[in-house]
Amino acid sequence: MIATPEATNPFFVNLDQIFVFLSNWLVGFLPAVLRPVAGVVLGVVAIVCVFPGLFALTTVFERKGLGRIQNRIGPNRVGPYGLFQPVADGIKSLTKEDIVPLRANAVVHFLAPLVLVVTVFMGFAVLPMGRNMVLVDMDAGLLFFFAMGAATELSVFMAGWSSRNKYSLLGAMRAVAQMISYEVVLLLSSVAVVMITGSLSLPKIVAAQNQYTGVFPHWYIFTPWGLAGFLMYAIAATAETNRSPFDLPEGESELVAGYHTEYSGFKFALFFLGEYLAMFSISGLGTTLFLGGWSAPFSFLVWVPSWFWFFGKVMLSIFVFIWMRGTLPRLRQDQLMNFAWKFVLPFTLLNLLVTALWRFMGEGWARWMVCTVILVAAYVVMGRVEMRSEHFGRRSYRYAE
């Protein structure tokens, strides 16, 4: 690391570690027996406060952003720049009547949103959000994350099935099929990182990327296999969080509101929250795996607090999510599945092979050349074959006078 004057400046070091110090300071008041527990509780409280706050901010950001894309203003009446909009939405949702359909399975109907939110929150436990800022430094952190992520499928299916609504059921079926398919891709694209780092611990993965050549960092996205893996990860993440263009489970135009059609009031708000939290956590993981986690993008910027970089990168990917939502139409169910199993999954598997090559070819230009050529060639060939088999393309039209 190139030590810039700022990086060694105690002020910036303190700023970087401010939350860690704060936590230690608060815990210091307690007897030593309670300290480990209190530290965890404090961390949990922080996560439970920060991310819903971020969720609120994101909903405004999304509505304003979509407005900008669509040539309009977006919310601006509630508070300055419409910033209090989510507060109003929250109050409204909290006080709205909660309807449980007569023929619904009340217990499962009640549990579904809780399962979603709780499991999504648990994913945050292993994400390093800054230098020394990880709640649980688990050796198998990545595994834990995916285990928790898989529970969202359960929640969605619970919601769809228990509502006794045909649209809900269709939505839930779609969701389960889609999430399981893309879960595979999500996992396999992360395996590439594990192969290079040799660890399932997320802080270690970040530490491995937190090095610089010149001013440029060693992020995995700047390697051929990393870029390919990141793209596949991004596709799978979009599908996993049911965002456009993969928002089929709640495809408004055909399935009314998908699996949460029958949810009202605060339960619906919880689904909303869960969806956005899933977006944060999956962006956080993507950041950690491929974008260097909390490390700075240039060596001369390392003095900027690490948590700033983490949240900055997460918000950047949220912005991309919103951008895609404002631009792209939705895929169809069979196309979605074809895409997963015929293109994304084979390509991810190939990427694993390339990663292995990268690992064992040693330093030098040769491995850059070989890996890039293999990936580009595979992409072109597979894309061509895919498009040709479906007969898509621009057409020319004839005219009659």
Binding site: R77, V78, D89, I91, T95, H260, S264
Partner: protein, 204 residues
Amino acid sequence: MAVDQNLKIELGKQGIFVTTIEELYNWGRRSSVWPMQFGLACCAIEMIATTMARYDLARFGAEVFRPSPRQADLMIVSGTVTKKMAPQVVRLYNQMAEPRYVIAMGACAISGGPFKQGYNVLKGIDRYIPVDVHIPGCPPRPEALIQAFMTLQKKIDGQPLTGEGRPRHLDAEAQGEFPVPEQGEHDLEPTSNKGVWPVPITIR
């Protein structure tokens, strides 16, 4: 339990903002009215135009058109309600969660409008469900819908949480479900919900 207005303004100047539960609650309700994605006829197009770039209902935080009645707060009855459609409109209204509001948009939704003589046209949706705001016009301009929306916000603001004049959903005795009319052999049965719509007397 209202705070003295003068005191409140005075405190506001000092940087202290005082509010009551009532105000906060009404502010929340009024600032986040999500309409149902529900259009009937010509007025629906003006309703869509209201949400589009030029008029942008989103400014009021009301662009979240929910397709499911469970998640919607506001039903904009935009257009002619026919006798074939009326039972479904009432049913949708019943499916909405309290607090819920209705805007009758356009002459047809108010009274049948130009199609009043028609055998299949319901002469105003307020025969079956309570309407909060009526907008005249055929169709009303988008500005009129925005005006109606602001009127609704004012109405919500003025509602106390207790006592006389509290909103329906806070009144335990108030009617929550409205009877759905049946399609009979010649007409809807009953032709109106007497509890909601007393037959007007015309004095000639």
